[in-house]
Symmetry: C2
């Protein structure tokens, strides 16, 4: 059995991979409304200030703050209301000393006003009812509490200043980011092209899921679980089909698929000789080839991490659990990296109390599938034990418990971090 | 100013909404490969066992375990290797007493064998090298350690038994679930139809993002942030455009859009009179109408939650931060509920140390946008303070800090939960 010549802890392995991936994919310009989940290819700056005009944050009266100074319930300030600022229109009311204008939440503040008195802090003297339309002006109000200059007013540029960098390059766009862009009238945005990820399944025993299986044959799973993770990370999966355990066939298929994609994933047959073949194929594709063969994790130790002409190339173990955990560990970050993502999305974690002991080995990072259950004492994590060839250990799990590199195991009753799928 | 007639804590408000949503949307059958993120409309059972044949979990030799009993390095068992099981083929090797067959990881175990000896626990006596092809049979090996019956063998049905329920109804399909289905040759799956969610923006001041803005006007944000959240929850957003603050216009637009969708969201103008109009419109659409007006949260207190003819109808505050936080709180769970989801997806949370005090009021659940930063002492949560009309407080945040209902605030240095976006 060959030695793993270069087994690294997962963080170091990922750093090694990233050091060899220097280029970000080219950008394209797309409609902002369709950019959810895409990554900015360049920083975006504000074409104008937001808000563009001073807005009221309350329903009430736009006033000159000085006119309210000293006002109280026992000694109210009297103001003459001379008009209303309709929603969506310029504030064309000019206020002289002792005057006010009706203003609604979000409405524009007249130039001559510098604060807003909340309607709850006023009383109508002449009994004119407040309604959106049909108010008779002028009428008089009592202001029961003074306001400071700027009170209840959103200033021009308080949300974003003209020219400010609103999003950096390498930012994954979320619904609120689209909202922020559209608020400024930015209808198109420069995003990095979605990485195309070629996926090959290998193994004489592997058949396509729609085919009937003969004794000794199993259906391809990894192409589809990996494709799902590729899409979730913003990539485009390109399925290359199933290749038999034949060096020349695999070499040709890998070279062809890599030529038309930005990244290649081979879910290798699981026997030693086939794993060796994957290493040779990757080394033959170009420089630098295989970076490491073996990661200090379980499941998934025999993972192969390589780079060919600036494109990541991964050889995953054939076992579906190993393949998925390892692709999540290296493939998903690589897809983000190709898009120039500066700050990887944070893992959703929950804390839960472990239901039973988990054995591990120091010097190895273990990932144990776990089911989560609410209980009277809080959230409980129930490990779903099973060999790494059993896909249903993952189907029955809500996430993975990480047993850190320096720990020999975890004890029942301990609070542990569960990384959600 | 009208009283909020029924202000509930968010959990109670959600329960109230769910009690009025009894029907799950109809199902449709789609390709398993395209079902990522969809929700099962019926339980799925296994059409056959998985694996369908006994498989080796190691590279080595299929043996009769009894032939190895008592074997050790000093007293090895000698076995005659009479053949090989090729990958992907039936195991057509019959073993007599004292015989073994070469088997690879994932390969089929011959009927007459009941265990596998790892290759590392053997030595080849006659010096025949092991390779995938070209092995000369028979040759002899020494077994250096005994194996138990079943050792290194995956049994038929060990992953899934024939007829077992592999997925319940109401399950959100993930990449590994697709893998589990395809492993069983299940190429199509019954899923609940994606809920169509109608979205109306209202307000005389609101214009479409592609239009230039005049003084007093702002661009529509909420339609797009809500649409993004709808898609993330598996729904189909149906944008109904911008309606002016006119009762008849809003009534007609709401009725028309609700008739062709499964749920309606109105992002209301933010002034009191317009909020009242939304309440009246919802009550006029059908039974039971508005369930509650006001949720004990900040931002977003004036949220309106209703149900009309079994369809959820929400009135969101006009402020973009309130609208997004409230839609996440009621709209997203409602979309899952319409799909019959039994177990809502768990929120990704991280723990972080608060950088400064946050004031709140007991009896109200506050959500404060926060940026996350790694520091030497661990993760830090830096609140992004800002009025709830500032969309960039959400753009600049990684998640929300929840200040629980019964707390008057949080202190700098406290460890707090941050719900990731």
């Amino acid at each position: 059995m060959p030695e793993f010549f270069n087994v690294l802890p997962p963080d170091d392995a990922r750093d090694l991979l990233f050091r060899h991936l220097t280029a970000v994919l080219p950008s394209e310009t797309i409609s902002t409304q369709e950019a959810n989940g895409r990554v900015t290819g360049a920083a975006v700056t504000a074409p104008h200030a937001l808000p563009q005009f001073r807005r009221s944050t309350m329903d009430g009266y736009a006033v000159r703050a000085a006119d309210t100074f000293g006002a109280s319930e026992s000694l109210p300030a009297f103001l003459q209301v001379v008009g209303e600022v309709p929603m969506g229109q310029a504030a064309n009311v000019a206020l002289s000393v002792g005057q006010a204008a009706v203003v609604h939440t979000g409405g524009m503040i007249p130039d001559s006003a510098d604060a807003v008195v909340q309607i709850e802090q006023t009383q109508t003297v002449s009994g004119v009812p407040l309604s959106v339309n049909g108010i008779q002006f002028p009428f008089e109000i009592e202001v029961l509490k003074s306001v400071a200059v700027g009170q209840n007013v959103l200033q021009v540029g308080e949300d974003v200043r003209l020219g400010a960098e609103i999003l950096p390059a390498g930012h994954i766009l979320r619904p609120q980011d689209l909202g922020g862009l559209l608020a400024l009238g930015i209808m198109a945005v420069e995003v990095v092209r979605r990485p195309r990820v070629g996926i090959l399944a290998t193994g004489d025993e592997v058949v396509s899921p729609e085919e009937p299986t003969a004794p000794g044959q199993i259906r391809d799973i990894n192409s589809y679980t990996v494709a799902g993770l590729v899409e979730q990370a913003g990539g485009v999966p390109v399925l290359g089909g199933i290749i038999s355990d034949d060096f020349a066939a695999l070499e040709t298929a890998a070279a062809d698929l890599l030529a038309e994609t930005d990244m290649l994933v081979m879910s290798a047959g699981s026997s030693v000789s086939v794993r060796d073949m994957t290493v040779q194929v990757i080394d033959g594709l170009g420089q630098p080839g295989v970076l490491l063969h073996g990661v200090a994790t379980r499941p998934g130790k025999p993972t192969i991490v390589g780079v060919v002409n600036g494109k990541p190339v991964l050889g995953l173990p054939g076992n579906p659990v190993s393949a998925m955990v390892q692709f999540d560990m290296f493939g998903v970050p690589a897809i983000y990296h190709l898009q120039g993502v500066k700050k990887m999305p944070r893992r959703g974690l929950v804390w839960a109390q472990l239901s039973q002991n988990i054995a591990s080995e120091s010097g190895r990072e273990d990932y144990v599938p776990a089911r989560l259950e609410d209980s009277a004492d809080g959230l409980r994590a129930i490990p779903v034990f099973g060999k790494s060839n059993l896909i249903y250990t993952l189907v029955n799990a809500d996430g993975l418990i990480r047993v850190p590199l320096n720990k020999g195991g975890l004890l029942a009753g301990e609070w542990v971090e569960v990384r959600l799928f």
